[in-house]
Every structure is written in structure tokens, then in C-alpha cells.
Subunit: 226 residues, 2 copies
């Protein structure tokens, strides 16, 4: 083949299978069967299984980061000044959520692959994962611009919790649907993004107002009784 169509078929098949079954349950033979190519093609085109996974992860990571940054820049440009707090969070959690959920299921294997890569402990990926930190710093900086008076720790906890809710919503979508008996609509992606965004914003806002009245950090939430 003149084009590297075998390479792409392998990458697509690997991404699909890893996203669906997890890294522990997929062999090279599964991948080449899905891609309808020869077993030896993997080592010919990528060198090894680990290099295949690494290339897949890096390329998808770059794409996801680009998507997030584009959304962040758009929010900054629209407002003129620094992006609003909720727009920063939405730029962070929107891309993976839109890629994984929604009525047209299975739309993006890429997003589900990335979430799996985040959740499971794969040595190859762990080794690469450092660059994720650099990317998150951009969002930490954006949050700080939106909330200059917030303690540094609060900024990082907000980022951390936003990602936590996003990942668990994707990975545990089935459990939530079953637990709630359908009361939680996993197809309403915009609503989910809004929920996560609102949760982070409200938490940060509550801590900001509490910090004004007390010098010690807020430890115990108020108890709004029914």
C-alpha cells in the first residue's frame, strides 16, 4: 500500500478495543483481527506493542489538549480579558464529555481511550504521563486569573475535582444510570458539563466568601437542614 493505511487501521483498531475492554484484556492478535491486517504488521510499523500504545496515547493526548486550549482561548477572546471561571472549567471538561457521552454512543473512541488510560495503571503510559502536568498548569493559570484572590491550594483542588467528576462520569456512566433508575440523563451532555462546572464554581465561591469572615481555612460545611 502506498499510503500508511495499515498503520492507521492498527491505530484505530487498538484505540477502539482498548477503549471498550481496557488495556489488560486486549492482545495484539485481537487488534490485528479487528484491523484485518497481519500480526507482524504491528512490529513492522511500530516496533513493539508498547511503542504502538505510546504513539496512540501521545497523539490523542496532543489532540485533546489542543481541543481544550482552543476552547479556552475562545473564552478568553470572547470576553476580552481573562476567561470567566465557568468557561475555564467547561473548556477542561467539555471535550472529553462530549466525546464519550451523548445520544450517539461510541462516537469517539479517542475520548474513551484517554479516560481508560487515565484510570488504569499501564507502565508505558505512566512513563509518558508527565507531560499532562504541564498542560494542566495552563488551566491552573487561567483559574488564577479568573480568581486572583483564591488560595493556591483551592485552585488545584478545583482542577482536580473537575477532572475527577469528568472521568468517573464517563467510566461509571452505566452504574449511575442503573443506580438512578434513569433519573440521571447521561445523554444530556450539555447538562452534565453545566453540572460539573456549577459544582466547581460554587465550591470555589463558597470558600472565597468563607475566607473573608474567618482566617482559618474552612473545614466543615454548613448544614442546610431540610
Amino acid at each position: 500500500m502506498s499510503t500508511d493505511q495499515t498503520r492507521l487501521a492498527i491505530l484505530a483498531a487498538a484505540e477502539r478495543l482498548y477503549a471498550d475492554r481496557g488495556f489488560g484484556e486486549v492482545t495484539l492478535r485481537d487488534i490485528v483481527a479487528e484491523a484485518e491486517v497481519n500480526l507482524a504488521a504491528v512490529n513492522y510499523h511500530f516496533g513493539s506493542k508498547d511503542e504502538l500504545i505510546a504513539e496512540l496515547y501521545v497523539s490523542r493526548s496532543v489532540a485533546l489538549n489542543r481541543e481544550r486550549l482552543t476552547e479556552l482561548k475562545a473564552a478568553e477572546d470572547a470576553g476580552g480579558g481573562p476567561a470567566a471561571l465557568d468557561d475555564v472549567i467547561a473548556a477542561l471538561v467539555g471535550p472529553p464529555l462530549r466525546g464519550c457521552l451523548g445520544p450517539d454512543r461510541q462516537r469517539s473512541a479517542a475520548a474513551r481511550f484517554m479516560v481508560r488510560a487515565s484510570a488504569e495503571s499501564v507502565p508505558v503510559i505512566r512513563r509518558i504521563r508527565t507531560r499532562e502536568i504541564g498542560h494542566l498548569r495552563r488551566f491552573a493559570a487561567a483559574l488564577r486569573r479568573a480568581l486572583p484572590q483564591a488560595p493556591e491550594a483551592d485552585i488545584y483542588w478545583a482542577l482536580h475535582f473537575a477532572l475527577a467528576m469528568t472521568h468517573e462520569t464517563i467510566n461509571g456512566a452505566e452504574r449511575l444510570q442503573r443506580l438512578s433508575g434513569g433519573a440521571c440523563d447521561l445523554d444530556d451532555v450539555a447538562g452534565i458539563v453545566a453540572r460539573i462546572t456549577a459544582a466547581v464554581v460554587q465550591t470555589l465561591a463558597a470558600r472565597a466568601t468563607a475566607a473573608k469572615t474567618a482566617t482559618v481555612p474552612v473545614r466543615r460545611a454548613a448544614r442546610p437542614r431540610a
Copy 2:
């Protein structure tokens, strides 16, 4: 041996290794080496690797559920009536967090094992996991008693987000520590429980007040500018 000391050694070693390295990276030979028993002992005492994992998961799951329920009952008994909102959340997220984090690291392999089992896709565990739903319903009911006027979906989302923040905090503790440059104190477990509890409580409270002024569901958070 008269006692089943070999059984227990295998269980303990398996739990430790799975908690540390994840399910994909641990073989039976790793386990028996750690437990200092013979390879065949696993199949003799448990029948198969999957049955070992299943027994481990079920026993730890029962223990965790008991711990959570004890804390929930204590909160209910203390107040006389239904448990307060934040006490319900604290009963849910406290046990795994206290087991996994804190200054005396590695304290409880059991808690870290459970979180791994939640995050990774292991067929044996997926098959058992259904009973988790029943246990979560108890907490959903407790939340409803604390907040009778809240929409059903909000209750389940709150539960879901609480677990999300808990799991990601345990699994991603290292990343958060590195990202924040030490600003986030992962040893202050009580503070983390308070943070997660406060986030859930404030989010629920914000939706409750918003629901009074608007009949349509809240979609977009207010933007508290700096």
C-alpha cells in the same frame, strides 16, 4: 498447618500487590513469592486466580460497606432524626480516604485495593459489582431524608460526584501533589473529607435555592468575577 495461615498469607499478599501495581501487572507467581508459599497453594485453597480475586473483593467490599453504614448509623443516632447532609457524605467518603491517605502511608492496602478494583476493568470484579448498587441505595435514601425537597436526579448526581472525587483523589494523589507543588496537603485527610463534603453540600444547596426562583433546571452557573 492447622490454621488457614497460608490462605491468609495469600490474601494479604494479593491485596498488597494489586493495590500497589494494579491488576494487570501482578501474576500468581508474584503473589506466592510475596506470600512465601508454594505456587500450587493458590489453586489448592481458592480453586483459581479468579476465585481468589472474587473472595478478596467480596470480603473487602463487605467490610467497607459495614464501616460506611456504622458511620451513617452513628450520625443518625447522634442527631435523633435523619442524619445531616454532610454527615451522610462524610460517612460515604471518609472510610476509603482515611484508609488510603494520611501521613502513615500504605496503612490500609484494603482501601487502595478497593479503589483500584473500582477504576480498572477486571471481568471477575465487574461481574460481582452489582451488589455495590444496593449498598449505594442506602446512602441515596439517607440523602433524600436529609433533603426531601431535592429532585431525585440531584441526589444521585451528588452521590456520584462524591465517589468520583474520593476515588480520583486516591488514585491521582501523586499527580495532584506534583501539579500543586505541595500546595495541596494530601496528608490532611480530615481536611480532604471536609473539602469533598463541602463541595457536595454546597452544590446541592445551590441547586435547591435556584430551583425556588426558576421552574426550569439550572443549567449555567453564575459567574462570580474576581
